[in-house]
Amino acid sequence: MTKLQSSIQIPVRNTLAPGVTLRQYTGYSLLHFMTRGDRDKATELLARQLNMSIPTCPNTAISHTNGMRVLCFGDKRWLVHAPVPDWKLEPVEGCAVTDLSDSRVLFCIKGEPVREQLARVCTLDLASSACAPGGCALTQFEQIPVLLHVNDNCSYDLYVENSFSEDLMRVLTVKK
C-alpha cells in the first residue's frame, strides 16, 4: 500500500520552512493512459475497469476512497495512480497504457505556510479560489517539470521524474 515515509533526507545545508513538512510516498503504481480516438469511449472503458469516475477536464483529478486517483493532464491523457505496487491495467481497446511506476518520485508537501513556500518556485496561482482541491497541473519549479496535485489548501502532491527529485528537494527547501 502507498505509504508516506516518516522522514526524508534533504540537502545538508538546507532546511524546510517552519511549519512545512516534505515526505515521500512509497508503494504505488503509476500508469499512463492515453487515446488518439474517442475520448468519451476511452473514459467510459477506463471508468468501468476502475469502477470510479474519470476526470474529463484537463487539470482535474478524481480520487477514490480506496486510494485510487486519476489525474487528467491533457486532452486525452491521464495518469492512473494506484495505491499498490505492480498494479496493472487491462488493455483497453483503442488506448495505450504505459507503465510509469518507476519513472517518478512522489512527494507530499504540506503545512500552513506551504503556499508561501511554493510561491518561491511555482508560477501557478495556488489560492483556493484559483486552484481548488482536486486540481492538478503540469508545471515547472525552477525548470524542473512537476505534476502538481492539490490535496487541500495546505497539502500538495508533487510527481517528479526520478532524475530531478534530488534537485527538487533543494528547490523546495531554503538555505539554513
Binding site: R120, S163, D167
Partner: protein
C-alpha cells in the same frame, strides 16, 4: 541640522552609520539622504562627465545626484540612491566617481575642459584609427563615472517568488490608499505596493488634514485597516519596476537588513487588474549653475522637513513657476528657516499664495530670473526681473526649485498604454490603457488632495465593476460610498506656465552673472548647449537627441530631465511638445541588481541537475562527473593513484579486449503504440521503418524540415504495434517536442500514442568481446534467447540472481564497435542489475567506463554525435549517410534535400583525421587550414568536431567537418589551435571516418 521635534523618525533610538569613513548618526525612519542632511553633509558625489560637485537633489526615486556605494568596500553596491535607502545600523556609504577624494577631485579638470567635451565628443574623437579602439575603450571604461561593480559577492540573499492577485495597486499615496480601502471591503485579493518604507506617499511629506486628523494619522489608520483585512497584502520598500504582457508586473522588494535570510526579493505578480497610483515627480528649473550642492527640489526640501525633521539649510531662496513651492516656503519658514525670498517666474502668482508669504514676511520677486553662485556649494543667488538688467544678490545656502510636476507614466507606458499631452498642465498624462489597468491620482495630472482621494475611489469602483461587484456580486460585497471629509486642499497646486527652461537674455545674463552651465540632465551632465548643438547637428528627433546627448539615460532614466529636454527641443524645432513626442519608457523603472534577477538560480543552481538512478553506484566506483546537457554523467572512473588519462585508457582497453559496462539511462526513450506506428516512423526517419520486423532494431536518422540532421537513435519493434525508440541524451526533449508537434498538429489522424519513458527505463550497456559470455551468467533460463539475439536484434529476457528475476529489454546494438548489448530495466531495478553485472565481472575483468572512453570508442569507429559532428547545418549526405535516404517514401526534410545547395560543392563533409606525426595532439574545436601559414578570416576550411587519444592505435583520432572533405581524402591539411596554446600548426591527413574495424566484423560476432 536635525530639528528637535516633528518628523516621523524614532528619536528614541540611534543608528550609527558612516559616509566616506566618517562616523555619523541617524534614527530609525531616516533615509540615508535625510540622515546625511541632518548631519550637515551637502556634498555627496561628483558628476558623471565634468566631475562637478553635487548634492542631494530630491527625496525620491528620481534622485540624479546622490548615487552612493553602499556596503563594505569589497562588496559595496554601486549607484544606490541615498534617497531610497532606509538607514540601518552599521550602514557604510561611500561617494563615487572622484579621485583622489570627494572634496579634492583632480578629475574636475574636465569641467575646465568642457568646451572640448561637448556633445558627440567621444563619437567624433575615438572613431579613428579603429585599431586603437581597444585602447580607447579600456581608458573610457576606466574613467566612466557610474560607479564600479563590486569585486566580491556580497552578503545579500536574493529570492524570487510568483504572486497572483485580483488587483495590484502600485503606489500607496492618497489615491492608492483610497482605492485599496474601498477594495478591501470586497473579497478581491488586493496587493498594495509602495517603494517607500511606509505608506502615505506625499501625505507623509505635507502638512495636510483629512477627516480632522493629519495626513500621517489618516495613513496609519487606513494602513491598520488594510493590514487587518485578510484579502489585502501590503508590500513596502517595494518598487514596481517593470510591466509586461498580460498584466505581469515585476516588483523589487528590499527587505531591511537582518529582517530575513534574504535582503532582496523579486516578485512576479500576475494581476487581473492594476491600479497605477504612481504619483508625479517634481521638475527642476534650468538656470545657470543649477547643479550646485544646496540646490534641490522644493518638494524635497519640504519632505526632509516634514517627514524627517531635517532642515536642508539655514537661509533659503525659493525659485518656482508654480504655487506648490510656496508651501515649502511656508513650512520651512514656520520651522525656523530663514526664507530670504521667493522668486517666481510668473508675473502674477495667485493672491492666496502671496498672502501666505506676506503673513510670514517673506519677500516675493515676480517675473524673476535667477543664477546660482558658489564653488563647492551654493553661496548666493543673483536675481533680476525679466524686463530689467538690474540684479539683486541674495546670500543663501539653499535654493529650492520647482518647475511643475510630471506624472509618473513609466509603468502605464510600459503596459502599452497611450499617453496624451495635457496643455494646461504642460505635461503628458495616461491615455487609453492597453491592458487591464486604471490610473488614479496625481499620475492623471490631479493635484488636489480631495481630487486624488476621489480619483482613487473612482478607480476602485471601476475595478469593482469589472469584477461585477458594484451591486453586490455573489462572491463579494459591494463597494461602500466614501464618507471621508477632506478640506479642499492641494497637494501640488501646479498652475504653471510652460516655462521650465529659463532662457536668459544676454544682457540680463550679464546682470545676474549667469555665465555657468545650464543643466538639463544632472546625471549625465547634459546642458542646454549640448541640446542646442545636437539640434544644430540635425539630431532633431527626440530619440536621436537622447542617444546623442545621453539626455534621459543613466540610472535615473531622465525622471527629472526628460520633460525639460523635450520643452527645449520643441522650442528649437518651433513645434508644440506633442509633435516632438516622447521617448519610450522601458523597464526597469529604477535600477535593479543582477542578483535580484538571478534570484536563487545562481552558480550550481543556474539550471537543474539530473542524476540517473545509478548515480550513487558511480560515486562508489570513483566516478569523475561531467555534465551532458542537464545530466550528470561519469566521465571516467578513477582508481587509486590514477590520472584521468590513464583511467580512460584502461577503460577503452577493457571494452576493446574484455568487457566494459556503462550507464546509458540518460538516452531519450519513447514508447509508441498504435496501428499507425510504422507509418509514423516512416515519415519521421530517413530510412524505411515499415520493413522493420518484430524483435529487430534499426539505426535511424531524423531530419528537421530544412533537411538538416535533427537527431539519431535506434528504433526497436517490440511487437506488431509497439515500438521502443531511443534518442541522443542532449536532444531527447527536442525530439519529444518535434514528435508531439507532428502527431498533434500535422498528423492527428494517425493512431500513434507517444509516451516518454526515459525515466521509466534505466539502461546499462555491456560492451566488449566478452559481453555475451558475461551476460550468459545472468540470463539463467533465457540463455538461449540471449545467444539467439542477432546483431541489431531485440529480446525480452529475465535476469536471474538468487531466484530473483528482473524483466529486461535486451537490445544488441553497439556504439563502441564491439559486440555489445544494451539492457533496459525498470528504473527501480537498475542498481540491482548494475551490481549483478558487476558481481559477475571479475572473471572477465569487467570495468565500468565513462563518457570519455565512450567518446574515443565511437570516434575510432566514425560514429557521430549529433550536435558535434552534425551541427544543425549538416545533411545526411554530409556525414556520409546519404545511402540511408529512402527513395520510395516521403519523410520530414526530404523535400529540402532536393535543393541545389544541398548537393553543391563546398559543403562541409565528415571525414576522419590522422596526425602526420603520430605524437601530435588533435583537439576538438581546432580550425583546419590548407597550408600551415594560413591565418585570419576565410582561411579555415573546417574544424575538428570530435577528438580523443586512442590507446589502441597509439595516436589521436579525430572526426572533422571539412569543406569538400571527401574529395580530399589522403591530402594533408593543418590543424591550428592557438586557443589551446598550440602555436604550431599540426599536419593531418584526411582519412575515412572509421579508423577501427571498418568491416564491422567485431560487431557481428
Amino acid at each position: 541640522m536635525r530639528m528637535s521635534q516633528g518628523g516621523l523618525i524614532d528619536r528614541g533610538r540611534i543608528l550609527n552609520f558612516s559616509f566616506n569613513g566618517r562616523s555619523l548618526q541617524g534614527h530609525p525612519g531616516d533615509s540615508l539622504a535625510s540622515a546625511l542632511i541632518a548631519n550637515g553633509i551637502r556634498l555627496v558625489g561628483r558628476s558623471f562627465k565634468y566631475h562637478r560637485p553635487r548634492g542631494i537633489f530630491s527625496a525620491g526615486s528620481e534622485e540624479p545626484n546622490a548615487m552612493l556605494r553602499i556596503g563594505p568596500e569589497a562588496t559595496a553596491e554601486p549607484n544606490t540612491r541615498a534617497t531610497q535607502t532606509p538607514l540601518y545600523e552599521g550602514l557604510q556609504a561611500r561617494s563615487q566617481n572622484h579621485w583622489p577624494s570627494l572634496e579634492v577631485d583632480l578629475l574636475s579638470i574636465n569641467n575646465l575642459l568642457s568646451p572640448v567635451f561637448s556633445t558627440g565628443f567621444y563619437n567624433k574623437t575615438f572613431i579613428s584609427p579603429r585599431k586603437l579602439w581597444p585602447v580607447y575603450e579600456k581608458m573610457l571604461r576606466h574613467i566612466a563615472g557610474h560607479g564600479r561593480a563590486p569585486g566580491q559577492r556580497g552578503p545579500e540573499q536574493f529570492e524570487q517568488c510568483f504572486s497572483h492577485c485580483d488587483v495590484l495597486i502600485i503606489g500607496a499615496g492618497p489615491a492608492g490608499l483610497a482605492a485599496a480601502r474601498r477594495l478591501a471591503s470586497t473579497d478581491l485579493r488586493v496587493v498594495v505596493v509602495d517603494e517607500c518604507e511606509r505608506p502615505g506617499g506625499w501625505l507623509l511629506k505635507e502638512n495636510t488634514s483629512i477627516d480632522g486628523s493629519n495626513g500621517t494619522d489618516w495613513c496609519d489608520r487606513i494602513t491598520r485597516q488594510l493590514s487587518a483585512a485578510e484579502n489585502v497584502t501590503l508590500l513596502y520598500l517595494t518598487t514596481a519596476f517593470g510591466f509586461y504582457d498580460h498584466n505581469l508586473v515585476a516588483l523589487a522588494e528590499r527587505l531591511p537588513s537582518g529582517a530575513a535570510t534574504f535582503s532582496q526579493r523579486l516578485h512576479r505578480v500576475r494581476a487581473k487588474q492594476v491600479v497605477f497610483a504612481t504619483g508625479s515627480i517634481e521638475r527642476p528649473l534650468v538656470f545657470a549653475n543649477n547643479d550646485l550642492p544646496g540646490i534641490m527640489l522644493a518638494g524635497a526640501a519640504r519632505a526632509y522637513l516634514n517627514q524627517f525633521a531635517a532642515k536642508v539649510g539655514q537661509r533659503m531662496v525659493i525659485y518656482t513657476n508654480n504655487d506648490s513651492a510656496y508651501r515649502s516656503a511656508v513650512d520651512l519658514s514656520d520651522a525656523g528657516v530663514d526664507v530670504a525670498a521667493v522668486a517666481d517666474l510668473r508675473e502674477a502668482p495667485h493672491a492666496s499664495a502671496i498672502a501666505r508669504l506676506s503673513e510670514r514676511g517673506i519677500s516675493l520677486y515676480k517675473g524673476a530670473r535667477i543664477a546660482a553662485h558658489g564653488r563647492r556649494h551654493l553661496r548666493s543667488v543673483r536675481l533680476c526681473h525679466s524686463g530689467s538688467e538690474q540684479a539683486l544678490q541674495l546670500d543663501c545656502d539653499t535654493l529650492a526649485v520647482s518647475g511643475g510636476w510630471t506624472p509618473t507614466l513609466h509603468l502605464h507606458s510600459q503596459s502599452g498604454g497611450a499617453v496624451r499631452f495635457e496643455p494646461q498642465l504642460d505635461t503628458f498624462v495616461p491615455g487609453t490603457p492597453k491592458q487591464a489597468t486604471v490610473a488614479a491620482g496625481a499620475v492623471n495630472g490631479l493635484h488636489g488632495l480631495q481630487e486624488c482621494l476621489d480619483d482613487g475611489e473612482r478607480a476602485a469602483v471601476t475595478i469593482a465593476k469589472r469584477f461585477g461587484l458594484v451591486t453586490g456580486a455573489p462572491n463579494g460585497r459591494s463597494i461602500d460610498p466614501s464618507n471621508e471629509s477632506v478640506e479642499n486642499q492641494l497637494l501640488f497646486d501646479t498652475d504653471c506656465p510652460a516655462v521650465k527652461v529659463v532662457n536668459q537674455h544676454k544682457a540680463r545674463r550679464r546682470g545676474i552673472g549667469a555665465s555657468g552651465k545650464y543643466f538639463v540632465d544632472f546625471q549625465n551632465d547634459v546642458t542646454i548647449s549640448d541640446v542646442r548643438q545636437a539640434y544644430r547637428e540635425s539630431y532633431v528627433s527626440v530619440e536621436h537627441l537622447k542617444r546623442y546627448t545621453t539626455l534621459g539615460m543613466g540610472t535615473d532614466q531622465g525622471k527629472t530631465s526628460n520633460l525639460n529636454g523635450l520643452d527645449l527641443l520643441a522650442g528649437l524645432r518651433e513645434e508644440p511638445v506633442p509633435k516632438v513626442g516622447i521617448t519610450t519608457f522601458r523597464p526597469p523603472y529604477t535600477p535593479v541588481t543582477l542578483g535580484l534577477l538571478a534570484g536563487q538560480s545562481q552558480g550550481a543552481h543556474l539550471s537543474p541537475t539530473r542524476k540517473t538512478v545509478l548515480h550513487a553506484k558511480h560515486e562508489q566506483a570513483g566516478a569523475v562527473f561531467d555534465f551532458n546537457g542537464l545530466w550528470l554523467r561519469p566521465r571516467c572512473y578513477l582508481r587509486h593513484g590514477e590520472t584521468e588519462e590513464t583511467a580512460i585508457g584502461r577503460e577503452i582497453r577493457a571494452v576493446r579486449e574484455g568487457v566494459g559496462m556503462t550507464d546509458v539511462s540518460t538516452l531519450g526513450k519513447f514508447e509508441i503504440q498504435g496501428a499507425d506506428c510504422a507509418e509514423f516512423l516512416n515519415r519521421v526517419y530517413i530510412g524505411n521503418m515499415d520493413t522493420l520486423v518484430s524483435g529487430r532494431c534499426r539505426y535511424g536518422l531524423m531530419l528537421s524540415d530544412d533537411g538538416m540532421v535533427l537527431d539519431d537513435g535506434t528504433v526497436t519493434r517490440l511487437d506488431q504495434q509497439h515500438y521502443f525508440i531511443t534518442t541522443s541524451t542532449g536532444h531527447a526533449e527536442h525530439v519529444l517536442q518535434h514528435l508531439e508537434f507532428l502527431l498533434d498538429v500535422l498528423w492527428p489522424e494517425l493512431d500513434v500514442n507517444l509516451v516518454a519513458v526515459t525515466e521509466q527505463w534505466a539502461g546499462v550497456a555491456v560492451a566488449g568481446p566478452a559481453s555475451r559470455k558475461l551476460l550468459r551468467q545472468l540470463a539463467g533460463s533465457d540463455t538461449e534467447v540471449l545467444e539467439s539475439v542477432p546483431y541489431m536484434g531485440y529480446a525480452s529476457i529475465e535476469l536471474e540472481e538468487s531466484g530473483q528475476c528482473i524483466k529486461a529489454r535486451l537490445l544488441r546494438i553497439s556504439y563502441s564497435g564491439e559486440m555489445a548489448y544494451e539492457i533496459y530495466v525498470p528504473a527501480h531495478s537498475a542498481t540491482h542489475v548494475w551490481e549483478l553485472i558487476l558481481n559477475h565481472g571479475p572473471g572477465f575483468d569487467l570495468q565500468p567506463y565513462g563518457m570519455d572512453a565512450m567518446d574515443v570508442l565511437r570516434i575510432e569507429k566514425g560514429f557521430i554525435v549529433v550536435g558535434a559532428d552534425a551541427d544543425g547545418r549538416t545533411t545526411p549526405m554530409d556525414i556520409g549517410m546519404g545511402a540511408m535516404l529512402s527513395k520510395t517514401k516521403h519523410f520530414i526534410g526530404r523535400h529540402a534535400l532536393t535543393r541545389p545547395a544541398m548537393h553543391e560543392s563546398g559543403r562541409f563533409q565528415l571525414v576522419g583525421l590522422q596526425a602526420v606525426n603520430y605524437q601530435d595532439g588533435l583537439f576538438e574545436g581546432a580550425q583546419l587550414t590548407r597550408l600551415a601559414g594560413d591565418r585570419g578570416y576565410g582561411a579555415s576550411i573546417g574544424h575538428i568536431s570530435s577528438a580523443g587519444f586512442s590507446p589502441l592505435l597509439q595516436r589521436h583520432v579525430a572526426l572533422a567537418l571539412v569543406r569538400d572533405g571527401r574529395k580530399h581524402l589522403g591530402q594533408t591539411i593543418y590543424s591550428q589551435d592557438p586557443a589551446r596554446a598550440c602555436p604550431t600548426p599540426v599536419g593531418v591527413t584526411i582519412v575515412e571516418p572509421c579508423a577501427y574495424d571498418p568491416e564491422g566484423a567485431r560487431l557481428r560476432r
